[in-house]
Amino acid sequence: MIVLLTSILAITLRAGTSLIYATIGEIYTERSGVLNLGLEGMMLVGAVSSFATVYYTGSLSLAVFVAMLTGVLLSSIHAFLSITMRANQVVSGLSITLFGTGFASFLGQRLGPESNGRYLIGLIGEKFTPIAIPGLSKIPLLGALFNQDLLTYIVYLIIPIAWFYMFKTKNGLNLRAVGENPQTADAMGIDVLKTRYLYTIIGGTLVAIGGAHLSLAYAPGWSENITGGRGWIVIALVIFSMWNPSRAIWGALLFGGINAVQFRLQASGTNIPASFLNMLPYLATIIALVVMTWLENFGKKVGAPAALATPYMRGEK
């Protein structure tokens, strides 16, 4: 039993890593008041570009770097459109997803070697493999935490840092002020537009690493739709974690865990409950959202940043 649970936990963490990266990224973006629905596209481009890089250079660190670069580029487009040009953020995010999905698929059929019909699909490259930490990985159950790949270990570090930065530093305070009440933040001398640019781009970078984890570690290689809707799940996870990086892990474990359990169910040949099981996290998210909003009506601050998805312009209310 313990062995089974340990293996489920290990798979859950592996499936959850990309989600945690992207969730923390999107939390930062949304906390500054920018809603980015382009995650699915950004994760796909991150996944395809990092796999192509590792295929040709064999360098995993370069691959992650290239993915980060694509994240910077795509989120800059979103930032420019939604912050400077004050475009509708829902439409802008969706167009990033549309473009990113198409572009990733395009690259996946063009960047491959001539011998494979220029396809990247079906190729094998370097990948992040689990590194067992001596001693720790032998602990029953919790050992699963210490038999993971490098990117997962890094995310263990990012979670507390992201939390500390957001809630215990001056920069974090400014970031939250910009998302809560940009007028006041502006009056306090915070550059609202610059802050939003910065965290939209930082967020996008993390999201792209999430994509890279898929093609470099979780499901090494490139396949169309490798994200399987993870970019949308992340939007739910952000709500679920109440815009707090330290809680990002719980939602990711929930979704990842349901994936892992479903994996077991499929292996045992039962297909019916799988879809209904998959539905639960989305229902839970809606309920969580309702409860949070309801609590806010009593003056408790738990929910979405007040200025989420609202462009800011000086002197305009």
Binding site: L35, L37, G41, I77, F80, L81, M85, R86, A87, N88, V90, V91, S92, L94, S95, I96, T97, L98, F99, G100, T101, G102, F103, A104, S105, F106, G108, Q109, R110, G229, W232, I235, A236, I239, N271, I272, A274, S275, F276, N278, M279, Y282, L283, T285, I286, L289, V290, T293, W294, N297, A304, L308, A309, M313
Partner: protein, 358 residues
């Protein structure tokens, strides 16, 4: 000297027309560069995309097949957006409409007169879509829950319900394990007029006209416009905002639900994987590009569908990825989004002198 944006008093008619045309040209140009990088002739690519989508009557009917759900969901989404209700749940409303229409087609048709099956399927599907859109509307109005997030989550719930059904209890026992229900009886098939293009087109055009009249020629349409422009002022004038939002969203969801009904009754004749092709998301773009105008949505839907079908065509003809269509769809939007600023604002250059004088 510096440049500022000044809000226009009225939206610029010239910008409304010029921005999309200019955006289209810019995106063709940018993708052209991308194609050149990959050693492909952009002119040839565009020509074969055009032929693939509009070149022959047969190809055009395929474009219509994809355009019909986009028209309907585009009109539906557009209605919600008019109220600044950011409903991104058209996908779920479409799917749930399809699911309920399937229920009628498969399980009711033996017990009701043949002529009633299709109308009943359509009505049931519309009610289903309306309910699906009603959930975020009621939550928004009563508790102020964010509608974007709720409607997005409901997409997944609808898709999972559909999956659970065609993988589970509704699965065709003679389907060799194929994930889908059994074929509908013929009485539940919506007729096609040419190729796979079906009479859902008539419904789409009719609804666009009706919506246009409602929005521009009725008191209710006027109220909706007021709410969209300035909710506070509308409220002062005695317009009831909450109930209007809920009613508008029920109508919006019903129209999207209808798109789902047509997908199952006219195209696949069963509920199966691939009912949700992302039409509901593309619909948002259709509605937005059409400036929320229902009649313009018809034409934008044909253009967007043409890009998808044209993308399939370049794959067959030139071995280029079909994703070209998606790339183009996304790319057109970037300059358009940037340009949308100019319909509401104008650039004003302020010289140093002027600034010193103030």
């Amino acid at each position: 000297m510096r440049i500022i944006f000044e809000k226009r008093n009225t939206i610029s008619k010239k910008a409304i027309l010029l921005v999309p045309v200019f955006s289209f040209i810019v995106s063709l140009f940018l993708i052209g560069i991308l194609l050149l990088i990959f050693k492909t002739n952009p002119f040839l690519t565009y020509a074969s995309m055009y032929v693939g989508a509009f070149g022959t009557w047969m190809n055009f009917t395929e474009t219509l097949v994809k355009a019909i759900p986009l028209m309907l969901t585009g009109i539906g989404v557009g209605l919600a957006f008019r109220l600044r209700f950011w409903n991104i749940g058209a996908e779920g409303q479409l799917v749930f409409g399809g699911v309920i229409a399937t229920w009628v087609a498969l399980f009711w048709s033996p017990f009701i007169p043949a002529w009633m099956v299709l109308p009943l399927a359509i009505i049931a599907g519309m009610i289903a879509g309306a309910l699906w859109a009603g959930i975020p509307a009621v939550l928004k109005v009563s508790l102020n829950v964010d509608e974007t997030l709720v409607s997005l989550m409901l997409n997944y719930v609808a898709i999972m319900i559909a999956q659970g059904l065609y993988y589970g209890p509704w699965r065709d026992p003679d389907g060799f394990g194929f994930p889908g229900t059994k074929l509908f009886p013929q009485i539940a098939w919506l007729p096609r007029f040419s190729g796979r293009a079906h009479y859902g087109l008539l419904f789409a055009v009719l609804i666009a006209l009706i919506m246009w009249v409602i929005l521009n020629r009725t008191k209710w349409g006027f109220e909706l416009k007021m709410i969209g422009r300035n909710p506070r002022a509308a409220s002062v004038m005695g317009v009831r905002i909450g109930s209007n939002i809920i009613i508008a969203l029920l109508v919006s969801g019903a129209i999207s639900g209808m798109a789902g009904v047509f997908e199952v009754t006219a195209i696949s004749h069963r509920l199966q994987q691939g009912l949700s092709m992302g039409y509901g998301y593309t619909a948002i773009i259709v509605a937005w590009m059409a400036q929320l105008n229902p009649i313009a949505s018809l034409f934008v839907a044909i253009l967007m569908a043409g890009l998808l079908v044209g993308g399939d065509q370049v794959q067959m003809m030139m071995g280029l990825p079909a994703a070209m269509g998606l790339v183009l769809q996304g790319m057109i939007l970037f300059p358009m989004l940037a340009g949308s600023l100019f319909t509401d604002f104008k650039l004003k250059v302020i010289s140093n002198k002027e600034e010193a004088g103030v």
